[in-house]
Protein backbone atom coordinates (compact mmCIF):
# COMPACT_ATOMS: atom_id res chain seq x y z
CA UNK A 1 0.00 0.00 0.00
CA UNK A 2 1.21 3.51 -0.87
CA UNK A 3 0.53 6.29 1.66
CA UNK A 4 0.69 9.88 0.39
CA UNK A 5 1.37 12.41 3.17
CA UNK A 6 0.62 16.00 2.14
CA UNK A 7 2.79 18.34 4.23
CA UNK A 8 2.08 22.06 4.60
CA UNK A 9 4.10 24.67 6.51
CA UNK A 10 2.83 25.00 10.05
CA UNK A 11 0.67 21.87 10.24
CA UNK A 12 2.91 19.07 8.90
CA UNK A 13 4.04 17.46 12.19
CA UNK A 14 0.48 16.22 12.88
CA UNK A 15 0.44 14.42 9.50
CA UNK A 16 3.76 12.72 10.15
CA UNK A 17 2.57 11.63 13.61
CA UNK A 18 -0.63 10.24 12.07
CA UNK A 19 1.43 8.09 9.70
CA UNK A 20 3.46 6.76 12.61
CA UNK A 21 0.26 5.91 14.47
CA UNK A 22 -1.97 4.56 11.70
CA UNK A 23 -0.01 3.44 8.61
CA UNK A 24 0.87 -0.25 8.35
CA UNK A 25 4.57 -1.04 8.83
CA UNK A 26 4.92 -2.43 5.30
CA UNK A 27 3.32 0.64 3.68
CA UNK A 28 5.33 2.68 1.21
CA UNK A 29 5.29 6.26 2.58
CA UNK A 30 5.59 9.24 0.23
CA UNK A 31 6.09 12.68 1.80
CA UNK A 32 4.57 15.28 -0.52
CA UNK A 33 5.07 19.04 -0.60
CA UNK A 34 3.42 21.26 -3.21
CA UNK A 35 4.67 24.80 -3.88
CA UNK A 36 1.90 27.04 -5.15
CA UNK A 37 2.65 29.81 -7.63
CA UNK A 38 0.59 32.39 -5.74
CA UNK A 39 3.16 33.74 -3.28
CA UNK A 40 5.91 34.44 -5.86
CA UNK A 41 3.15 35.87 -8.09
CA UNK A 42 2.35 38.47 -5.41
CA UNK A 43 5.97 39.65 -5.63
CA UNK A 44 5.91 39.56 -9.45
CA UNK A 45 2.83 41.80 -9.38
CA UNK A 46 4.37 44.28 -6.94
CA UNK A 47 7.43 44.55 -9.18
CA UNK A 48 5.26 45.05 -12.26
CA UNK A 49 3.58 47.91 -10.42
CA UNK A 50 6.94 49.71 -10.25
CA UNK A 51 6.47 51.39 -13.61
CA UNK A 52 9.60 51.77 -15.73
CA UNK A 53 12.05 49.85 -13.55
CA UNK A 54 12.60 47.47 -16.47
CA UNK A 55 15.33 45.03 -15.43
CA UNK A 56 13.71 41.64 -15.16
CA UNK A 57 16.66 40.28 -13.21
CA UNK A 58 15.62 42.57 -10.33
CA UNK A 59 12.17 40.92 -10.15
CA UNK A 60 11.88 39.59 -6.56
CA UNK A 61 9.32 36.98 -7.66
CA UNK A 62 12.09 34.98 -9.36
CA UNK A 63 14.11 34.96 -6.15
CA UNK A 64 11.06 33.79 -4.23
CA UNK A 65 10.59 30.87 -6.63
CA UNK A 66 14.21 29.79 -6.12
CA UNK A 67 13.98 30.20 -2.33
CA UNK A 68 10.72 28.23 -2.28
CA UNK A 69 12.47 25.17 -3.66
CA UNK A 70 15.10 25.23 -0.92
CA UNK A 71 12.57 25.64 1.87
CA UNK A 72 10.39 22.78 0.54
CA UNK A 73 13.45 20.52 0.59
CA UNK A 74 14.27 21.43 4.18
CA UNK A 75 10.65 20.88 5.28
CA UNK A 76 10.67 17.40 3.70
CA UNK A 77 14.00 16.64 5.36
CA UNK A 78 12.65 17.64 8.78
CA UNK A 79 9.53 15.52 8.19
CA UNK A 80 11.56 12.48 7.14
CA UNK A 81 13.63 12.80 10.29
CA UNK A 82 10.49 13.01 12.46
CA UNK A 83 8.98 9.99 10.67
CA UNK A 84 12.01 7.86 11.43
CA UNK A 85 11.41 5.16 8.83
CA UNK A 86 12.24 4.76 5.13
CA UNK A 87 10.19 7.04 2.91
CA UNK A 88 10.17 8.73 -0.48
CA UNK A 89 10.04 12.53 -0.91
CA UNK A 90 8.10 14.24 -3.65
CA UNK A 91 8.18 17.95 -4.49
CA UNK A 92 5.57 19.29 -6.85
CA UNK A 93 4.67 22.78 -7.99
CA UNK A 94 1.45 24.10 -9.47
CA UNK A 95 -2.15 24.52 -8.32
CA UNK A 96 -1.75 23.05 -4.86
CA UNK A 97 -5.10 21.26 -4.41
CA UNK A 98 -5.04 19.74 -7.91
CA UNK A 99 -1.44 18.57 -7.56
CA UNK A 100 -2.37 16.81 -4.32
CA UNK A 101 -5.28 14.99 -5.95
CA UNK A 102 -3.07 14.01 -8.90
CA UNK A 103 -0.39 12.70 -6.54
CA UNK A 104 -2.98 10.61 -4.67
CA UNK A 105 -3.99 8.70 -7.81
CA UNK A 106 -3.56 4.97 -7.22
CA UNK A 107 -2.58 5.47 -3.57
CA UNK A 108 -3.99 3.43 -0.70
CA UNK A 109 -4.28 6.40 1.67
CA UNK A 110 -3.99 10.21 1.61
CA UNK A 111 -3.00 11.87 4.90
CA UNK A 112 -3.65 15.61 5.30
CA UNK A 113 -4.29 18.20 8.02
CA UNK A 114 -7.18 20.62 8.48
CA UNK A 115 -6.18 24.12 7.35
CA UNK A 116 -9.18 26.28 8.27
CA UNK A 117 -10.57 27.83 11.46
CA UNK A 118 -9.49 25.28 14.05
CA UNK A 119 -11.06 26.93 17.08
CA UNK A 120 -14.26 24.88 16.71
CA UNK A 121 -15.49 21.62 15.23
CA UNK A 122 -17.27 21.99 11.93
CA UNK A 123 -16.98 22.53 8.20
CA UNK A 124 -15.05 25.79 8.56
CA UNK A 125 -12.07 23.84 9.89
CA UNK A 126 -11.34 22.97 6.26
CA UNK A 127 -9.90 25.72 4.08
CA UNK A 128 -10.47 25.76 0.32
CA UNK A 129 -7.40 23.66 -0.57
CA UNK A 130 -8.09 20.83 1.90
CA UNK A 131 -11.81 20.96 1.10
CA UNK A 132 -10.99 20.39 -2.58
CA UNK A 133 -8.55 17.56 -1.83
CA UNK A 134 -11.03 15.78 0.50
CA UNK A 135 -13.88 16.18 -1.97
CA UNK A 136 -11.89 14.95 -4.96
CA UNK A 137 -9.45 12.43 -3.49
CA UNK A 138 -9.43 9.21 -5.58
CA UNK A 139 -8.50 7.13 -2.49
CA UNK A 140 -9.27 6.79 1.25
CA UNK A 141 -8.44 9.92 3.26
CA UNK A 142 -7.07 10.37 6.78
CA UNK A 143 -7.92 13.92 7.90
CA UNK A 144 -6.14 15.03 11.09
CA UNK A 145 -6.28 18.00 13.45
CA UNK A 146 -2.92 19.83 13.58
CA UNK A 147 -3.48 20.50 17.28
CA UNK A 148 -5.68 18.60 19.74
CA UNK A 149 -9.25 18.74 18.43
CA UNK A 150 -11.58 21.36 19.98
CA UNK A 151 -14.22 20.44 22.52
CA UNK A 152 -17.55 18.89 21.43
CA UNK A 153 -19.24 21.91 23.03
CA UNK A 154 -17.96 24.08 20.14
CA UNK A 155 -20.74 22.61 18.00
CA UNK A 156 -23.66 25.07 17.95
CA UNK A 157 -26.96 23.79 19.43
CA UNK A 158 -29.37 22.19 16.94
CA UNK A 159 -32.01 24.49 15.44
CA UNK A 160 -35.25 24.62 17.44
CA UNK A 161 -37.73 21.91 16.58
CA UNK A 162 -40.78 23.11 14.68
CA UNK A 163 -43.67 20.60 14.76
Amino acid sequence: MRVIVWLVEGTWPACVDAVRAHAPDDAEVVLLHVSGPDVPAVAHGAFAGLLGRGHREADPGDRLEALGGTSAASLLAAAAERLGRPCAREERSGRVEREVVAAAEGAGLLVLARDGDRSRLGPRSLGPAVRFAVDHAPCPVLLVWPEPAPDLRTIPPPPPHHP
Partner: protein, 385 residues
Protein backbone atom coordinates in the same frame (compact mmCIF):
# COMPACT_ATOMS: atom_id res chain seq x y z
CA UNK B 1 8.90 53.07 -24.63
CA UNK B 2 8.28 56.44 -22.97
CA UNK B 3 11.34 58.13 -24.50
CA UNK B 4 10.23 57.63 -28.16
CA UNK B 5 6.70 58.63 -27.12
CA UNK B 6 8.06 61.86 -25.65
CA UNK B 7 10.09 62.51 -28.81
CA UNK B 8 6.95 61.88 -30.87
CA UNK B 9 4.91 64.28 -28.72
CA UNK B 10 7.48 67.02 -29.32
CA UNK B 11 7.88 66.20 -33.05
CA UNK B 12 4.14 66.27 -33.76
CA UNK B 13 3.71 69.53 -31.88
CA UNK B 14 1.48 67.93 -29.22
CA UNK B 15 3.73 69.77 -26.78
CA UNK B 16 5.85 72.78 -27.65
CA UNK B 17 9.62 72.49 -27.27
CA UNK B 18 9.53 75.21 -24.62
CA UNK B 19 6.95 73.36 -22.54
CA UNK B 20 8.89 70.11 -22.91
CA UNK B 21 12.07 71.87 -21.79
CA UNK B 22 10.28 73.51 -18.85
CA UNK B 23 8.89 70.12 -17.81
CA UNK B 24 12.34 68.51 -18.06
CA UNK B 25 13.90 71.36 -16.03
CA UNK B 26 11.20 70.97 -13.39
CA UNK B 27 11.73 67.22 -13.18
CA UNK B 28 15.56 67.36 -13.30
CA UNK B 29 16.11 67.90 -9.56
CA UNK B 30 13.45 65.29 -8.74
CA UNK B 31 15.23 62.73 -10.92
CA UNK B 32 18.56 63.59 -9.27
CA UNK B 33 16.99 63.09 -5.84
CA UNK B 34 15.54 59.76 -6.99
CA UNK B 35 18.93 58.59 -8.28
CA UNK B 36 20.53 59.37 -4.90
CA UNK B 37 17.88 57.38 -2.99
CA UNK B 38 18.24 54.39 -5.35
CA UNK B 39 22.03 54.39 -4.86
CA UNK B 40 21.61 54.71 -1.09
CA UNK B 41 19.28 51.68 -0.93
CA UNK B 42 21.48 49.58 -3.21
CA UNK B 43 24.60 50.11 -1.11
CA UNK B 44 22.69 49.50 2.13
CA UNK B 45 22.05 46.07 0.63
CA UNK B 46 25.75 45.69 -0.24
CA UNK B 47 26.56 46.56 3.40
CA UNK B 48 24.30 43.68 4.49
CA UNK B 49 21.43 45.72 5.96
CA UNK B 50 18.69 43.52 4.52
CA UNK B 51 20.35 40.24 5.55
CA UNK B 52 20.61 41.68 9.06
CA UNK B 53 16.88 42.53 8.90
CA UNK B 54 16.17 38.87 8.16
CA UNK B 55 18.18 37.72 11.16
CA UNK B 56 16.54 40.26 13.47
CA UNK B 57 13.07 39.22 12.35
CA UNK B 58 13.83 35.52 12.75
CA UNK B 59 15.27 35.97 16.23
CA UNK B 60 12.49 38.23 17.47
CA UNK B 61 9.66 36.13 16.02
CA UNK B 62 11.14 32.75 17.08
CA UNK B 63 8.78 30.84 14.79
CA UNK B 64 5.62 32.60 15.98
CA UNK B 65 3.68 33.86 12.94
CA UNK B 66 1.94 36.84 14.58
CA UNK B 67 5.22 38.14 16.00
CA UNK B 68 6.84 37.74 12.58
CA UNK B 69 3.99 39.74 11.01
CA UNK B 70 4.52 42.51 13.55
CA UNK B 71 8.26 42.53 12.84
CA UNK B 72 7.63 42.62 9.08
CA UNK B 73 5.21 45.54 9.53
CA UNK B 74 7.76 47.49 11.60
CA UNK B 75 10.73 46.87 9.30
CA UNK B 76 8.87 47.21 6.00
CA UNK B 77 7.30 50.49 7.17
CA UNK B 78 10.67 51.90 8.26
CA UNK B 79 12.52 50.74 5.13
CA UNK B 80 9.82 52.02 2.79
CA UNK B 81 9.75 55.40 4.53
CA UNK B 82 13.52 55.89 4.52
CA UNK B 83 14.85 53.95 1.51
CA UNK B 84 11.73 54.08 -0.72
CA UNK B 85 9.23 51.49 -1.86
CA UNK B 86 11.64 50.02 -4.43
CA UNK B 87 13.89 48.86 -1.59
CA UNK B 88 11.02 47.09 0.16
CA UNK B 89 9.80 45.29 -2.95
CA UNK B 90 13.11 44.36 -4.55
CA UNK B 91 15.39 43.91 -1.53
CA UNK B 92 13.25 43.21 1.56
CA UNK B 93 10.55 40.90 0.12
CA UNK B 94 12.94 37.99 -0.71
CA UNK B 95 14.51 38.32 2.75
CA UNK B 96 11.08 38.18 4.41
CA UNK B 97 10.08 35.13 2.36
CA UNK B 98 13.33 33.35 3.22
CA UNK B 99 12.91 34.21 6.91
CA UNK B 100 9.35 32.86 7.01
CA UNK B 101 10.30 29.66 5.18
CA UNK B 102 13.39 29.13 7.34
CA UNK B 103 11.42 29.45 10.57
CA UNK B 104 8.56 27.21 9.43
CA UNK B 105 6.00 30.00 9.07
CA UNK B 106 3.63 30.23 6.09
CA UNK B 107 5.08 33.02 3.96
CA UNK B 108 1.93 34.34 2.29
CA UNK B 109 0.76 36.95 4.86
CA UNK B 110 4.28 38.27 5.24
CA UNK B 111 4.94 38.61 1.51
CA UNK B 112 1.57 40.33 1.12
CA UNK B 113 2.54 42.64 4.00
CA UNK B 114 5.70 43.70 2.14
CA UNK B 115 3.81 44.52 -1.04
CA UNK B 116 1.00 46.37 0.74
CA UNK B 117 3.35 48.35 2.97
CA UNK B 118 5.56 49.32 0.05
CA UNK B 119 2.55 51.40 -0.96
CA UNK B 120 0.82 52.27 2.32
CA UNK B 121 4.00 53.04 4.28
CA UNK B 122 5.37 55.25 1.51
CA UNK B 123 3.48 58.29 2.80
CA UNK B 124 5.90 59.60 5.42
CA UNK B 125 8.86 61.30 3.70
CA UNK B 126 9.39 62.89 0.30
CA UNK B 127 12.00 60.18 -0.39
CA UNK B 128 9.63 57.28 0.34
CA UNK B 129 8.02 57.23 -3.09
CA UNK B 130 8.69 58.85 -6.46
CA UNK B 131 5.12 60.20 -6.34
CA UNK B 132 6.05 62.04 -3.13
CA UNK B 133 9.19 63.50 -4.72
CA UNK B 134 7.11 64.84 -7.60
CA UNK B 135 4.48 66.29 -5.26
CA UNK B 136 7.08 67.62 -2.83
CA UNK B 137 8.76 69.62 -5.60
CA UNK B 138 5.41 71.07 -6.64
CA UNK B 139 3.91 71.68 -3.18
CA UNK B 140 6.38 74.21 -1.82
CA UNK B 141 6.44 72.41 1.55
CA UNK B 142 9.68 72.06 3.49
CA UNK B 143 10.99 68.52 4.11
CA UNK B 144 10.19 68.72 7.82
CA UNK B 145 6.70 70.12 7.32
CA UNK B 146 5.92 67.42 4.74
CA UNK B 147 6.98 64.73 7.22
CA UNK B 148 5.14 66.37 10.13
CA UNK B 149 1.88 66.57 8.19
CA UNK B 150 2.19 63.00 6.91
CA UNK B 151 3.29 61.34 10.17
CA UNK B 152 -0.22 60.85 11.53
CA UNK B 153 -1.74 59.62 8.21
CA UNK B 154 1.24 57.25 7.84
CA UNK B 155 0.69 55.72 11.28
CA UNK B 156 -3.09 55.54 10.85
CA UNK B 157 -2.85 53.83 7.46
CA UNK B 158 -0.30 51.27 8.71
CA UNK B 159 -2.47 50.59 11.78
CA UNK B 160 -5.53 49.96 9.60
CA UNK B 161 -3.54 47.62 7.36
CA UNK B 162 -2.30 45.71 10.40
CA UNK B 163 -5.82 45.12 11.72
CA UNK B 164 -7.03 43.99 8.28
CA UNK B 165 -4.08 41.59 7.93
CA UNK B 166 -4.59 40.06 11.38
CA UNK B 167 -8.19 39.25 10.49
CA UNK B 168 -7.76 38.35 6.82
CA UNK B 169 -4.87 35.94 7.39
CA UNK B 170 -6.02 34.66 10.80
CA UNK B 171 -5.88 31.02 9.64
CA UNK B 172 -2.38 31.23 8.17
CA UNK B 173 -1.19 33.08 11.26
CA UNK B 174 -2.27 30.35 13.70
CA UNK B 175 -0.28 27.59 11.97
CA UNK B 176 3.18 27.29 13.46
CA UNK B 177 5.61 24.39 13.39
CA UNK B 178 9.32 25.12 13.43
CA UNK B 179 11.19 22.99 10.91
CA UNK B 180 13.70 22.27 13.62
CA UNK B 181 16.52 24.40 12.33
CA UNK B 182 18.14 27.27 14.16
CA UNK B 183 17.50 30.82 12.98
CA UNK B 184 20.84 30.99 11.16
CA UNK B 185 24.07 32.70 12.21
CA UNK B 186 23.71 36.28 13.29
CA UNK B 187 25.33 38.61 10.75
CA UNK B 188 27.38 41.57 11.93
CA UNK B 189 25.45 44.78 12.60
CA UNK B 190 25.76 46.95 9.44
CA UNK B 191 26.70 49.90 11.62
CA UNK B 192 28.21 52.02 8.84
CA UNK B 193 25.07 51.83 6.70
CA UNK B 194 22.80 52.56 9.67
CA UNK B 195 24.86 55.57 10.76
CA UNK B 196 25.01 56.92 7.19
CA UNK B 197 21.25 56.58 6.76
CA UNK B 198 20.66 58.15 10.19
CA UNK B 199 22.95 61.08 9.35
CA UNK B 200 21.20 61.49 5.99
CA UNK B 201 17.83 61.71 7.73
CA UNK B 202 19.17 64.24 10.25
CA UNK B 203 20.71 66.10 7.31
CA UNK B 204 17.28 66.40 5.67
CA UNK B 205 15.93 68.16 8.76
CA UNK B 206 18.93 70.49 9.08
CA UNK B 207 19.00 71.26 5.35
CA UNK B 208 15.31 72.06 5.35
CA UNK B 209 15.83 74.48 8.27
CA UNK B 210 18.52 76.31 6.28
CA UNK B 211 16.65 76.23 2.99
CA UNK B 212 19.12 73.85 1.30
CA UNK B 213 17.71 71.38 -1.27
CA UNK B 214 17.37 67.99 0.49
CA UNK B 215 18.50 66.32 -2.75
CA UNK B 216 22.05 67.40 -1.90
CA UNK B 217 21.85 65.63 1.45
CA UNK B 218 20.63 62.44 -0.24
CA UNK B 219 23.45 62.74 -2.77
CA UNK B 220 25.98 63.11 0.06
CA UNK B 221 24.64 59.99 1.82
CA UNK B 222 24.69 58.02 -1.43
CA UNK B 223 28.26 59.17 -2.17
CA UNK B 224 29.48 58.11 1.27
CA UNK B 225 28.08 54.57 0.96
CA UNK B 226 29.05 54.18 -2.71
CA UNK B 227 32.50 55.63 -2.02
CA UNK B 228 33.10 53.15 0.78
CA UNK B 229 32.08 50.26 -1.48
CA UNK B 230 34.42 51.58 -4.18
CA UNK B 231 37.36 51.93 -1.79
CA UNK B 232 36.78 48.44 -0.39
CA UNK B 233 36.46 47.12 -3.96
CA UNK B 234 32.99 45.73 -3.25
CA UNK B 235 31.77 47.57 -6.35
CA UNK B 236 33.14 49.19 -9.50
CA UNK B 237 32.17 52.61 -10.89
CA UNK B 238 29.87 50.84 -13.34
CA UNK B 239 27.93 49.27 -10.45
CA UNK B 240 27.36 52.72 -8.97
CA UNK B 241 25.99 54.05 -12.28
CA UNK B 242 23.84 50.95 -12.71
CA UNK B 243 22.44 51.22 -9.17
CA UNK B 244 21.13 54.69 -10.07
CA UNK B 245 19.03 53.05 -12.84
CA UNK B 246 19.76 55.58 -15.64
CA UNK B 247 17.15 54.01 -17.94
CA UNK B 248 14.51 54.52 -15.25
CA UNK B 249 15.58 58.15 -14.74
CA UNK B 250 15.20 58.78 -18.49
CA UNK B 251 11.81 57.08 -18.33
CA UNK B 252 10.61 59.44 -15.60
CA UNK B 253 11.69 62.52 -17.58
CA UNK B 254 10.03 61.21 -20.76
CA UNK B 255 6.85 60.26 -18.90
CA UNK B 256 6.68 63.79 -17.52
CA UNK B 257 6.84 65.22 -21.04
CA UNK B 258 4.21 62.79 -22.39
CA UNK B 259 1.80 63.46 -19.52
CA UNK B 260 2.32 67.22 -19.93
CA UNK B 261 1.38 66.84 -23.62
CA UNK B 262 -1.81 64.97 -22.70
CA UNK B 263 -2.70 67.44 -19.94
CA UNK B 264 -2.09 70.44 -22.25
CA UNK B 265 -4.34 68.91 -24.90
CA UNK B 266 -7.58 68.89 -22.95
CA UNK B 267 -7.19 66.52 -20.00
CA UNK B 268 -6.68 69.41 -17.58
CA UNK B 269 -10.04 70.93 -18.55
CA UNK B 270 -11.83 67.59 -18.44
CA UNK B 271 -10.48 66.68 -15.00
CA UNK B 272 -10.75 70.23 -13.68
CA UNK B 273 -14.50 69.76 -13.37
CA UNK B 274 -14.12 66.52 -11.41
CA UNK B 275 -11.46 67.50 -8.86
CA UNK B 276 -13.21 68.78 -5.71
CA UNK B 277 -12.47 72.33 -4.51
CA UNK B 278 -11.44 73.36 -1.01
CA UNK B 279 -9.59 71.62 1.81
CA UNK B 280 -12.45 70.57 4.10
CA UNK B 281 -12.72 66.91 5.07
CA UNK B 282 -15.24 66.01 2.30
CA UNK B 283 -13.06 67.70 -0.34
CA UNK B 284 -9.93 65.88 0.88
CA UNK B 285 -11.81 62.56 0.85
CA UNK B 286 -13.03 63.25 -2.67
CA UNK B 287 -9.56 64.19 -3.93
CA UNK B 288 -7.99 61.08 -2.35
CA UNK B 289 -10.68 58.79 -3.77
CA UNK B 290 -10.32 60.29 -7.25
CA UNK B 291 -6.52 59.93 -7.06
CA UNK B 292 -6.85 56.29 -5.93
CA UNK B 293 -9.24 55.57 -8.79
CA UNK B 294 -6.98 57.17 -11.39
CA UNK B 295 -3.93 55.33 -9.98
CA UNK B 296 -5.76 52.04 -10.34
CA UNK B 297 -6.62 52.83 -13.96
CA UNK B 298 -3.31 54.15 -15.30
CA UNK B 299 -0.67 53.51 -12.56
CA UNK B 300 0.12 56.01 -9.84
CA UNK B 301 3.09 57.68 -11.55
CA UNK B 302 1.14 59.14 -14.49
CA UNK B 303 -1.80 59.69 -12.13
CA UNK B 304 0.19 61.97 -9.83
CA UNK B 305 1.65 63.86 -12.83
CA UNK B 306 -1.88 64.45 -14.14
CA UNK B 307 -3.42 65.49 -10.81
CA UNK B 308 -0.63 67.67 -9.40
CA UNK B 309 -1.20 70.75 -11.59
CA UNK B 310 -4.90 70.61 -10.62
CA UNK B 311 -4.24 70.17 -6.89
CA UNK B 312 -1.37 72.64 -6.38
CA UNK B 313 -3.56 75.80 -6.58
CA UNK B 314 -5.77 74.44 -3.76
CA UNK B 315 -2.74 74.28 -1.43
CA UNK B 316 -0.60 71.64 0.30
CA UNK B 317 -3.60 69.88 1.86
CA UNK B 318 -4.99 68.95 -1.55
CA UNK B 319 -1.54 67.86 -2.80
CA UNK B 320 -1.07 65.56 0.19
CA UNK B 321 -4.58 64.14 -0.27
CA UNK B 322 -3.62 63.27 -3.86
CA UNK B 323 -0.58 61.47 -2.46
CA UNK B 324 -2.68 59.45 -0.02
CA UNK B 325 -4.82 58.31 -2.94
CA UNK B 326 -2.07 57.47 -5.41
CA UNK B 327 0.14 55.78 -2.78
CA UNK B 328 -2.44 53.63 -0.96
CA UNK B 329 -4.72 53.05 -3.98
CA UNK B 330 -2.52 50.65 -6.00
CA UNK B 331 -3.02 47.89 -3.39
CA UNK B 332 -6.42 47.34 -4.95
CA UNK B 333 -5.28 46.10 -8.37
CA UNK B 334 -2.79 43.33 -9.11
CA UNK B 335 0.34 44.85 -10.74
CA UNK B 336 -0.77 48.26 -9.43
CA UNK B 337 -3.11 49.30 -12.23
CA UNK B 338 -5.48 47.99 -14.86
CA UNK B 339 -3.25 49.47 -17.58
CA UNK B 340 -0.26 47.40 -16.38
CA UNK B 341 -2.43 44.32 -16.06
CA UNK B 342 -3.72 44.71 -19.64
CA UNK B 343 -0.22 45.37 -20.92
CA UNK B 344 1.02 42.15 -19.28
CA UNK B 345 -1.82 40.24 -20.96
CA UNK B 346 -0.88 41.75 -24.32
CA UNK B 347 2.82 40.87 -24.05
CA UNK B 348 1.93 37.48 -22.49
CA UNK B 349 3.67 38.06 -19.18
CA UNK B 350 0.72 36.58 -17.33
CA UNK B 351 2.18 33.13 -16.72
CA UNK B 352 2.28 33.99 -13.02
CA UNK B 353 -0.66 32.43 -11.31
CA UNK B 354 -1.81 34.80 -8.59
CA UNK B 355 -5.09 34.14 -6.81
CA UNK B 356 -6.77 37.30 -8.14
CA UNK B 357 -9.86 36.75 -5.99
CA UNK B 358 -7.82 36.69 -2.79
CA UNK B 359 -5.66 39.64 -3.89
CA UNK B 360 -8.70 41.76 -4.69
CA UNK B 361 -10.66 40.79 -1.55
CA UNK B 362 -7.69 41.85 0.57
CA UNK B 363 -7.42 45.09 -1.42
CA UNK B 364 -11.14 45.83 -1.07
CA UNK B 365 -10.81 45.53 2.73
CA UNK B 366 -7.44 47.25 3.16
CA UNK B 367 -7.53 50.14 0.68
CA UNK B 368 -10.81 51.88 1.63
CA UNK B 369 -10.20 51.49 5.37
CA UNK B 370 -6.57 52.66 5.36
CA UNK B 371 -7.31 55.46 2.90
CA UNK B 372 -10.26 56.74 4.95
CA UNK B 373 -8.39 56.81 8.27
CA UNK B 374 -5.35 58.37 6.58
CA UNK B 375 -7.43 61.19 5.07
CA UNK B 376 -9.10 61.89 8.40
CA UNK B 377 -5.66 61.91 10.05
CA UNK B 378 -4.35 64.31 7.38
CA UNK B 379 -7.32 66.60 7.92
CA UNK B 380 -6.58 66.52 11.67
CA UNK B 381 -2.90 67.27 11.10
CA UNK B 382 -3.76 70.20 8.85
CA UNK B 383 -5.98 71.64 11.63
CA UNK B 384 -3.31 71.30 14.34
CA UNK B 385 -0.06 72.06 12.50
Amino acid sequence: MAVPAAALAVATGAISLDHARAEAERLGPVVGFLAAVLVLAHFCDVEGLFQACGAWMARWAAGRPVRLLTAVFALASAITAVLSLDATIVLLTPVVFATAARTGVRPKPHVYACTHLSNTASLLLPVSNLTNLLAFAASGLSFTRFAALMALPWLAAIGAEYLVFRRFFARDLTAAAPVGRDTGEVPALPLFALVTVGCTLAGFVVASAFGVEPAWVAAAGALVLAGRALVRRQAGPLDVVRSAAPAFLAFVLALGVVVRAVVDNGLAEALGHVVPDGTGLPALLGIAALAALLANLINNLPAVLVLLPLAVPAGPGAVLAVLLGVNIGPNLTYAGSLATLLWRRIVHQHEHDVDLGEFTRLGLLAVPSSLAVAVVALWGSLQIL
